[in-house]
């Protein structure tokens, strides 16, 4: 299982939990499991979301591995100017 930190304004979708656990071994599985277990996150993930994995921000990197001891943080889809 991988612990995923959920940012504050999305916690209504996780019953207020700041951190949830999902069964996942890569970026894509984390996102899929979040959508499956917490349907309230589907709109945000569909609109765009990033994952910070051990301090690095990944935007659409499906096959980036995650491990049980990885720090995984759900983040908005990153853009810039």
């Amino acid at each position: 299982m991988v612990k995923v930190t959920i940012w504050g304004s999305l916690r209504a979708a996780t019953d207020g939990a700041a951190e949830v656990e999902v069964e996942a071994q890569n970026f894509k599985q984390v996102m899929s499991e979040l959508e499956r277990n917490y349907p309230g996150l589907q709109a945000q993930i569909a609109a765009g979301a990033s994952l910070a994995i051990d301090g690095k921000i990944y935007r659409e990197a499906w096959f980036t591995p995650v491990y049980p001891d990885s720090e995984v943080v759900l983040m908005p889809f990153m853009v810039g100017g």
Binding site: G8, G40, G55, I57, R59, M75
Partner: protein
């Protein structure tokens, strides 16, 4: 890709060769968006709403179409239905649908044989408007009786009672705020305000569209991302991507404002309807009214600090307005607000609200300047109250490797402390000030990112190399990409020519934004060069009849990898290229990647300001930027980015603002009334580059383009406040506003 573990002595990286586009730009040979022409070309013009908010009851273009020389008129009905809310918003911003949502919103467009006729035709288009109540300010837009722009755009999942114009909710942070504030010796809570600013690029949006009767189209335009332009336009016109080729012109500034489309799909729709090429170019007035700008903001900040300067808790409530459509920039502002600090208890929350203003566009580190400004201003006030040095306090609280950031992830190696120490040791910080002068300090932060990137390079028969990439060069990337190719291949920089290809010539590239290009295109260039080197080594192995692994690349030559490989005369790149057709054919290298591992970036700015107490007129006496670049490929360009960001941030702090009347109309759509700093307004800006390598890039590169616009707002505000002995809490700080605070 990780940082190369083997320490290497660079030969080209870190030098300052002449820019490859320099002669073209100073002689007028460079082709910008408005320079494009085609036989039989028509001129396109847009009819814009004179109202801040109005229902479009009907549009009658019959009189316009009857005018001799008019070849086409388009309205919203000429576009396909966009997929997804974001694309629907972008399309609706390009052409109003059932409502005009702001003063200057496009409602129809015409193509004619001359600009004069096109302008005449606009006057003949009859639009029946039902004028609606409007709202342009944050405070008004959240009132229960506020006019609602788009009921279906209200924030999804928002708690009951959330005002209908609120589109995005944001909340980041960790720790126990109450316990943190209980530990503080001093708690200060203040409110701040900033106004909308424009990116202020010198080149207005311009394009030339040409669609044939077979549905194939070409589009030339000034943009930061021609692949994104292609994708948006193809969607809005119901085209497949392969049928629309987009070529980016030289670009006269973008700063984020050219990452989205405004006139490009309109020109294509007109060309499709008229059967001729259509050129469009915005006037400056149109640029102000209908492109850009940034959000304006309100902020309530509360920070607790010990007598020794340790921050015990920090809380921000941010409210952004991003114009007439939803905007996620509030998330970025909230994430950046406290990112420079290692805090046990921190929270940044806020919302975006719709108003009858143009749709917000990205501007250098979008959201960060207005998220960071109030925090850095309040820290300065705490430092004064507690009698502490502002750099010492920032050093005491600075984020470092291993810090859990205020937005969630734990930082890897970062350069903030080194940057603060460099500022503290610099002669600027230790120079005495005179009367009516103040010195301001501020930190700044930006994420940087990578994104999808494609690079190809061809080894020519004469030993020169053509590098093909797909990101418009807005900050010197052709030079830095060429330098990285030359460094890796071991050939002179002058033997490389880098071009920006059209959308059909190379794989997809995310736009030139997010401070991503030197990082990700550089990374792809290094890998493409290594791909070409591998192929050249394989060819040489065949010539020498040895194993490819027994051939190594060094200083632009293939050499035997060791004594056991045999005794062969090294072959240069040029020698290998000259016989390429005999050894297997042309030699090329390429690399395609969705690059991650862009390292975050921090900056620290020092500003010395003198204020005339009689007039409120302020003068920037001295300004120094300290920033971690990871590795500066071409230091002159890095310095240019740092100086340019500072200049734009100074303008944001001192003068720039969108001004709306009570009628909801924009009052200052021109550079005479919208004051940006010019060269004579500013002193030389000193740039101090620090190099703390990004562990995610072979040479250690971090993005540098955006961070520099983040600190100036607070650095200048803190300097002015210290100069006048009173606290400024609203931007811009134009002379009348400063005088008002002085007079009390």
């Amino acid at each position: 890709m990780a940082l190369d573990t083997e320490k290497r002595e660079f030969k080209i990286i870190g030098t300052r060769p002449l820019r490859p586009d320099g002669i073209d730009k100073v002689t007028g040979r460079a082709l910008y968006g408005a320079d494009m022409v085609a036989p039989g070309m028509l001129e396109g013009k847009i009819l814009r709403s004179p109202h801040a908010h109005a229902r479009i009851v009907s549009i009658d273009a019959s009189a316009a179409l009857a005018l001799q020389g008019v070849k086409a008129v388009v309205t919203a009905s000429d576009f396909s239905e966009a997929k997804g809310e974001l694309m629907q918003n972008i399309l609706e911003n390009c052409m109003a649908q059932d409502k005009a949502l702001y003063h200057g919103h496009a409602v129809a467009a015409v193509a004619a044989t001359s600009e004069t006729i096109a302008k005449q035709a606009l006057k003949l288009i009859k639009v029946d408007y039902e004028v609606l109540p409007h709202v342009t300010e944050i405070e008004d837009a959240v009132k229960p009786d506020a006019p609602v722009l788009r009921p279906d755009r209200r924030a999804k999942g928002a708690p009951e009672g959330t005002p209908a114009n609120i589109t995005n909710l944001s909340n980041f942070g960790h720790g126990d705020l109450e316990a943190g504030f209980a530990k503080a010796d001093l708690i200060i809570e203040r409110s701040f305000r900033t106004e909308s600013t424009h990116q202020g690029y010198i080149e207005p949006h311009a394009c030339l569209a040409s669609m044939g009767p077979d549905g194939k189209a070409d589009l030339w335009c000034c943009t930061q991302g021609h692949y994104a332009v292609r994708d948006m336009c193809a969607s809005f016109l119901g085209m497949s991507l392969s049928q629309l080729r987009v070529t980016a012109s030289e670009i006269g500034g973008g700063f984020g404002g050219k990452t989205v489309v405004f006139i490009e799909p309109v020109a294509l729709a007109l060309s499709r309807k008229a059967g001729k090429p259509v050129k469009m170019a915005m006037t400056r007035e149109e640029v102000f009214k209908a492109s850009g700008p940034t959000p304006s903001s309100l902020a309530d900040i509360k920070i607790g600090m010990t007598k020794g300067g340790k921050i015990t808790a920090a809380h921000a409530k941010l409210r952004f307005q991003g114009g007439a459509f939803p905007s996620g920039t509030i998330d970025l502002g909230a994430m950046c607000a406290f990112a420079a600090y290692d805090l046990e208890a921190v929270r940044a929350e806020g919302f975006n609200v719709m108003t009858n203003r143009p749709r917000e566009a990205a501007y250098r580190a979008p959201g960060a300047p207005i998220g960071v400004y109030p925090v850095e201003a309040l820290i300065d006030e705490l430092c004064i109250e507690l009698g502490l040095d502002p750099l010492d306090v920032r050093l005491l609280n600075a984020a470092d490797k291993g810090t859990k950031s205020s937005y969630g992830p734990t930082f890897e190696a970062i350069g903030l402390k080194a940057t603060l120490e460099a500022a503290k040791a610099h002669r600027h910080y230790n120079t005495p000030l005179g009367p009516n002068q103040g010195r301001g300090v501020s930190c700044g932060f930006w994420f940087n990112f990578g994104g999808s990137t494609s690079v190809s390079m061809s080894v020519n028969d004469d030993g020169t190399v053509a590098v093909t990439e797909g990101n418009p060069d807005i900050g010197g990337s052709r030079a830095s990409v060429g330098m990285m190719a030359a460094e890796e291949l071991g050939i002179p920089y002058e033997n490389i020519r880098t071009i920006v290809a059209d959308t059909n010539s190379i794989g997809f590239n995310d736009p030139t934004h997010g401070s991503r290009v030197t990082f990700s295109v550089g990374l792809a260039t290094i890998e493409a060069a290594r791909d070409a080197i591998k192929k050249m080594c394989t060819r040489v192995a065949k010539i020498w009849d040895i194993d490819p692994d027994a051939v190594m690349w060094e200083d632009g030559h293939a050499r035997p990898a060791g004594e056991n490989a045999g005794n062969y005369e090294p072959m240069s790149l040029a020698e290998i290229a000259a016989i390429a057709s005999k050894t297997g054919g042309p030699i090329a290298g390429h690399y395609e990647v969705n690059a991650d591992s862009a390292g975050v970036s921090f900056g620290v700015h020092l500003a010395d300001i003198e204020v005339d107490p009689e007039t409120g007129f302020s003068t920037v006496l001295r300004y120094t930027v300290f920033q971690d670049a990871g590795k500066a490929i071409h230091p002159a360009y890095v310095e240019g980015q740092m100086q340019g960001g500072a200049a734009q941030g100074i303008g944001w702090a001192m003068n720039e603002e969108y001004i709306y009347g009570k009628d909801g109309l924009l009052q200052n759509a021109g550079f005479l009334d919208y004051r940006i700093p010019v060269a004579s307004d500013l002193p030389p800006i000193e740039a101090v580059i620090l190099e703390i390598p990004n562990p995610g890039h072979p040479y250690g590169v971090r993005g540098v383009g955006e961070t520099a616009i983040v600190p100036p707002l607070a650095a200048v505000s803190n300097a002015v406040s210290r100069a006048i002995g009173k606290r400024m809490r609203a931007l811009p700080m134009s002379p009348p506003k400063i005088l008002k605070v002085i007079k009390g």
